[in-house]
Amino acid sequence: MSDTARLLADSVDTFLARHAEATEAELLAALQSSGFAMALASEDHGGLACSWSEAAIVARLWGYHAAPLPIVEMLMAGQIASAAADPDLAPSLAVASMSSGDGQTAIAAHHAGQRFCLAAREGAVVAFPIPMESGEIATTIASEPYRRIPFPTDGTASFSRPLPPHSEILRRGTILTTARMLGAMDRIVEIIIEHAKLRTQFGRPLAKFQLVQTLISDAASEVDATRAALERALLFLDRAWDDDLAWYAAKGQAARAATLVAANAHQLMGAIGFTQEHVLHAYTRRLWAWRDAWLSQTGAEEALGRRACEAGGGRLWSLLADMPGPAFASEND
C-alpha cells in the first residue's frame, strides 16, 4: 500500500469517526466540503486524482463505519463530472445503478443535493435533469433511500458531454459496491470475534466452543477471499484493462460472502444481535441489500457462466489465467 493510500485511509477513517453521530444532512455537508467525494476527480477539478484502488479504500471505509449516503454513486459522480470537464456537476449528479424493466425509470440511490441523473437507457448512457415531480423516495431493506426517476418523455437528454459506456459504469459501480461490502464484512468479523471472547456461557467464553470457532473461521475466510478477488478486479480497473471476468467474480464472491457472514454473525450474536439497539443490523441489512445492488449476484454468476461456455473447455484455463490487455485506454480519466 502506497503512502498516498495510507494517508487517504487515515483521513477518511478519522473523518467518519468524527461524524459518527452526525445527521445525514450534516454528513452530506461535511463530505462535500471535505473533498473525499471528489477522490476520483482530477486535481485541476478540485479532486484527489485517486486510482480506483484508492477510491475503493474510501468505499470500504464507508462500509466499515456503516456510514450513510450513497458514497459509491458520489465517487462515481465526481469521476464522471471531472472526466466530462464539468466538476461542478458532481454534487448534484445522481448515478443510477439500474433502470426499471419497462425502461421508464432509472433507479438511483438518493441524497438531498441531487438535481441531475445519469442512467442507461436502452444501452445508451444519458444525463438529464431530475423532474420536479419525481419526489417519491423509497428505502431499501437497509433503510437507505433511493428514487425511481422517470426518463424525460420529450426525448431530450439535456446535455451532451463525453460519458463512459454503460458497461464501464456498471463495472465501476459494482466494484466500488464490492469494496463497501468488504468494509462492512471486515467490521462484522471484528464484532463477532470480540463478542465471542467476552460473552461467557456454560462457564467459558463462546470463543472456546469449536462450533463457534467454525462460524467465525468461515466468515473470516469468506472475507479474505472477497478481498483477494476485489484486489484483482481493482488491478485490472486501475490499468484500464478490459475485464470480462474478475469484476463479476468479485461481486459473485462478495455476495456469497455477505450471505454467510451475515447469517453466521446473527447466529453467533443470538437475540442480542436481533435488536434495533445493537449495531449489527446496520451492517447486515446493508449487506443483504448490496448483494444485488449494481450488478446482482445472479447476474454476475450468469455472466461468468456464459463467458466460460462461450470460450469453451479448451480455452477455459487461458480465460482464467491469462492477464487481459488494455481496453478503454482512450478515456480521459
Partner: protein, 382 residues
C-alpha cells in the same frame, strides 16, 4: 484494519504470459505424443518419465539455489508453472511432494550432506518423496505418534508404523515424524523428522487400497531401521515446528483448488456455447469461486516472497479450495444428466473418478476441522 494492497504491489516483474505459453506448449506436445492423459486429481499419480521431462524443462526445484541444482526463480514463477501443470491434469506424483515440501524442508533444515546428495536428484526428477506423519492411532493429533527413534553411535534406530502414506510404494525417501525424546507435559516437544531411505533394510511397505479400488496409500513399517545422523532435520526435538512450517507449504498451493479443474473444463464443453440460465448460473458460481480462491492463493505467493507468515491465508485457501474441488463434480452431475462411469465418455470417467476421490480432498494435508481450528487460533480465539 486490513486495507488493500495497491496495484503496484501486484505488479509482476516477469513476463507471466511468456512463461505460461512455454509450459502450455510443453504440455500440448506431451499430450500429443501420448506422454500423459489429462485426468482430474492426477497430481498424485506417479509417472517417472513425465517427471524427468518436467525436470528437463526446469520445472522442479525452480526456486532453489543453483548450488543444489535449483533454478533460483521466484515463488511467482513456480506458482505459474504449477498452475499450468495442474490445470492440464498432468501426472505429477513422482516429484510433487519432493518439490512442494520435502525439498524445501531439506533446504531449510537439512544437513549440508543431505542437501548436496538429495536436492540435485529431486531437481532431476529422479527422487520421489513420501510424507510419514499419520499413524494408526494418530491422524489429526500428530503429537500422539508412537513411532520412535533411539540414539545410537552415528545415527538413530527407528521403530514404528506409519499409515495412509501416499505413494510410499514409489518413494525413494520418506520424511518420518518420530519421537526422539519421551513425551512430557509439552506434548509437542521431543519430536523429530528423519529422512529415511525407503528401500532399506527394515522398511516394509504394504498397500492400503482406497475406496476407488486404487493403490495410492500404504502402510509403512520400520523395524530397527538405522538412519545416519546427517539425515536428521533441524536440531532434533524441534520436529513440531518443522512439521508446522512444512504443512503451511503443503496447504498453500494450487493443488488445493485445481484437483477437479479437468471436470469443470469438460463440463463447459459438454454444456456447449449456449448454456441455459440454470447452467450458466451454476457454472458461473464455480468460476466466481475459483477466481476468488485463486486470487487468495496468489496473495500467498506474495506473502512468501515478502518473507511473511502465510499460515492464516494458506489455511483459509486450502479449506475453501478443497471445498470447491468437491463442489465441482457435484454441480457437474446436476447440470448434466450423465451416468458417471469408469467405462464411459471422457466426462463420465472423470466425473466417476472425482466423485469417489472427493472425500480425500478435505482430509489429506490436514482435515477441514483442523484447518478451521488453525484459522480460529490465527484470529486470536484459542
Amino acid at each position: 484494519m486490513e486495507l488493500f494492497r495497491t496495484a503496484s504491489a501486484n505488479a509482476s516483474p516477469i513476463d507471466e504470459g511468456e512463461l505460461r505459453r512455454e509450459v502450455r506448449s510443453f504440455l500440448a506436445a506431451e499430450i500429443e505424443a501420448g506422454g500423459f492423459e489429462p485426468r482430474d486429481n492426477n497430481w498424485v499419480a506417479c509417472n517417472r518419465a513425465f517427471s524427468e521431462r518436467c525436470a528437463e524443462q526446469g520445472y522442479i526445484g525452480m526456486t532453489w539455489p543453483r548450488a543444489y541444482g535449483g533454478g533460483e526463480k521466484t515463488a511467482r514463477e513456480r506458482l505459474i508453472v504449477c498452475e499450468e501443470l495442474l490445470a492440464a491434469g498432468a501426472p505429477l506424483g513422482s516429484h510433487w511432494v519432493a518439490d512442494r515440501q520435502s525439498g524445501p524442508q531439506i533446504l531449510r533444515n537439512g544437513s549440508e550432506t543431505l542437501r548436496r546428495s538429495l536436492l540435485p536428484e529431486i531437481v532431476a526428477g529422479r527422487c520421489t518423496f513420501a510424507i510419514g506423519m499419520s499413524e494408526p492411532d494418530s491422524g489429526s493429533d500428530l503429537s500422539s505418534i508412537r513411532t520412535a527413534a533411539r540414539k545410537e553411535d552415528g545415527g538413530w534406530v527407528l521403530d514404528g508404523r506409519k499409515v495412509w502414506t501416499t505413494n510410499a510404494h514409489h518413494a525413494d525417501y520418506m520424511i518420518v515424524l518420530c519421537r526422539t525424546e519421551p513425551k512430557t507435559e509439552d506434548r509437542y516437544a521431543g519430536l523429530s523428522q528423519l529422512v529415511v531411505p525407503v528401500r532399506n533394510e527394515g522398511v516394509s511397505v504394504r498397500p492400503i487400497v482406497n475406496l476407488a479400488g486404487w493403490h495410492e496409500l500404504n502402510e509403512v513399517i520400520f523395524d530397527g531401521v538405522f538412519v545416519p545422523d546427517d539425515h536428521l532435520l533441524g536440531k532434533g526435538g524441534d520436529g513440531w515446528r518443522l512439521v508446522t512450517e512444512e504443512l503451511a507449504f503443503e496447504r498453500s498451493g494450487p493443488d488445493r483448488f485445481l484437483s477437479t479443474f479437468v471436470i469443470l473444463r469438460l463440463l463447459v464443453d459438454e454444456v456447449g456455447k449456449n448454456p441455459d440460465r440454470y447452467q450458466a448460473v451454476e457454472i458461473g458460481r464455480l468460476i466466481s469461486r475459483l477466481i476468488a480462491v485463486r486470487s487468495l492463493s496468489h496473495s500467498i505467493a506474495e506473502l512468501l516472497e515478502g518473507g511473511r507468515s502465510v499460515i492464516k491465508a494458506a489455511t483459509m485457501m486450502k479449506d475453501m479450495g478443497t471445498t470447491l474441488e468437491q463442489e465441482i463434480p457435484e454441480v457437474a452431475r446436476r447440470v448434466l444428466a450423465v451416468q458417471p462411469s469408469p467405462e464411459g465418455s471422457d466426462f463420465a470417467r472423470n466425473l466417476a473418478n472425482a466423485i469417489v476421490n472427493a472425500p480425500s480432498f478435505s482430509i489429506r494435508g490436514g482435515t477441514r476441522e483442523i484447518l478451521k481450528g488453525i484459522i480460529a487460533r490465527e484470529l486470536g480465539m484459542r
